[in-house]
Symmetry: C2
Subunit: 331 residues, 2 copies
């Protein structure tokens, strides 16, 4: 089963038709996993070993416009800067678009604007591919459901399948080999007081992609085999915490899950560490603040930045201790 097979399954007789519009635009929020996705059971169509659960970041995300052009190649701009077509970024994008167009038939001007740093563990590819799936749906007038779009977004980047919705979203791992049961499902939970604080230590590209880091972890970590059990436990506790609006339980579960994911990476060979010196400094500071009674937790993805988790009533204190923080209220 490869990506094209999945696209055909979903599009049926709409597969490889011409776009019905000349231009379309769509937006998708980025999402931060509270229970992480770390490890694939199938590489090509991004089927995960475990389920995962995220919070979407509202107006932090990617806005993408696709316009049919009459040149013989795509052209890509990111935040109004032209991107080299031979860059990894462009190649990955064009290859994704190739899944939906006849060879040598249709080319696009792709215009992406994003208000989050690219490839710094802030899930830029998640919102990027979710926005792309949505904009293709407009351009080709496929009229797909969000669930179907979630599967298409997943083909671009696993965690993108969670960026089709606002709020808390569970990516259900599924069991099928074609991945038709592996998509995001929004949770019916509103939590207006819930805040995420972005603590950005670095906005450059990271030196090992999460794709590669995942693979190395699975192949070499002596501890990885316990990860699925840890995730299942954390998922059930996190859902309970969301139902009961038990913030301390949510914070503890999310932080413990993230630390365990990074623990797995450290135990890989060669060891993988996304921490910068400033990351360690910030963690120690958070732990100290928590010891003094401030209810703040954090999560960390495949990058050095931390995402602080706290309730609105702590916002002023958090801004005080971390003047450089950017606070997002997902609801």
């Amino acid at each position: 089963m490869n990506k094209s097979d999945v696209v055909q399954l979903i599009l049926g007789d709409r597969y490889l038709k011409q776009p019905q519009q000349n231009q379309a635009t769509a937006y998708a929020p980025t999402n931060i996993a509270l229970v992480k996705y770390w490890g694939k059971r199938q590489q090509d169509i991004n089927l995960p070993v475990t389920s995962s659960l995220s919070i979407s970041l509202g107006d932090k995300g990617a806005n993408t416009t696709l316009s049919v052009n009459n040149k013989n190649q795509d052209s890509i701009t990111l935040n109004n800067q032209a991107i080299d077509l031979f860059s990894n970024f462009s190649q990955r994008l064009s290859q994704y678009l190739n899944l939906f167009r006849k060879p040598n038939s249709t080319y696009f001007d792709i215009n992406i604007t994003t208000n989050i740093p690219i490839a710094a563990g802030l899930a830029s590819s998640a919102c990027g591919f979710a926005a792309l799936a949505k904009v293709l749906n407009e351009l080709y007038t496929w009229q797909l459901t969000s669930t179907e779009l979630s599967i298409l977004a997943r083909l671009g980047s696993g965690s993108a399948c969670r960026s089709l919705w606002d709020g808390f979203v569970e990516w259900q791992a599924g069991e099928k080999s074609d991945g038709m049961d592996s998509f995001g499902v929004p949770l019916d939970i509103e939590w207006p007081d819930f805040c995420v604080g972005l603590l950005i230590m670095q906005t450059q590209e990271k030196n090992i992609s999460s794709r590669e880091a995942m693979q190395r972890t699975i192949q070499t970590s002596s501890l990885y085999s316990l990860w699925p059990e840890k995730v299942n436990y954390d998922l059930s506790v996190l859902k309970q915490a969301l139902q009961e609006k038990d913030f301390a339980l949510l914070g503890k579960t999310a932080e413990s899950n993230a630390m365990t994911m990074h623990a797995l990476m450290l135990s890989a060979w060669p060891p993988i560490s996304y921490a910068l010196p400033q990351t360690v400094e910030a963690m120690q500071k958070i732990w100290q603040l928590r010891n003094t009674g401030l209810e703040v937790y954090f999560t960390q993805d495949a990058g050095p930045n931390l995402k602080l988790l706290f309730l609105k009533k702590e916002s002023e204190a958090i801004k005080n201790y971390f003047p450089e923080i950017e606070i997002v209220q997902p609801f």
Copy 2:
């Protein structure tokens, strides 16, 4: 089974006799584990979950003089500074000495000089209790074997049982509930080119003792159950590396073992991290140097300092890249 029971088992009719000398002195080297001891199967007499393997650091260690005094209390000096008798340090020492003397009978002037930082993950308690066991053996003329002294040293601090010998030493975990089969065994291996570089980031006391960190790891880490398997594998590979003088295999095995131990701590709750920002910086530097072909590995204990592992031929390069390093040649 408690500490006194073990002491009685070993000393037999020499138990709680008076010292035969008024003063004695002994030295023990500190040791750095290449396969770590992390977790006890019995708390009181320091029985480990797994075996472990270390290298002793020659003239880096503790020199201890015990003199019988005729005051009504012990007095302790560390590097010529008097130590408060109510400090944890003094309490732990006096309680250890209580195992060997009748209540209210004998008091000592204890004079310790050490050339390694105390409680900074440089195994100061290892050499400290090994030296203490040796000096008691002199003072009381017990004429114990090194193996018996290793068991007595273990009662003070688990890893102390490896500090009775120079060179590579395996602490065999044993199976018995009285721990009479849990002691150090020196390996018959000389490796004159083997170097250890001490990269000291901090010499203050750490904020969580290794004793407490071990306990928390066992009780809360979802990954700990795989540690014994990891240790057994690393031990067999490390012994093979020592036999074949395969330095790359030794380095990789030791570093991977250390990183996995720290991974377990990160996955505990609350997470435990001994890393300082400088620790992360140094790790990244070592990994970069290794990528450029320099054969250098590291290990890290329950503290922020790193111990670099390399062969003599790399000494100049290492000094160049880490001007502050202290290089020890164990053979």
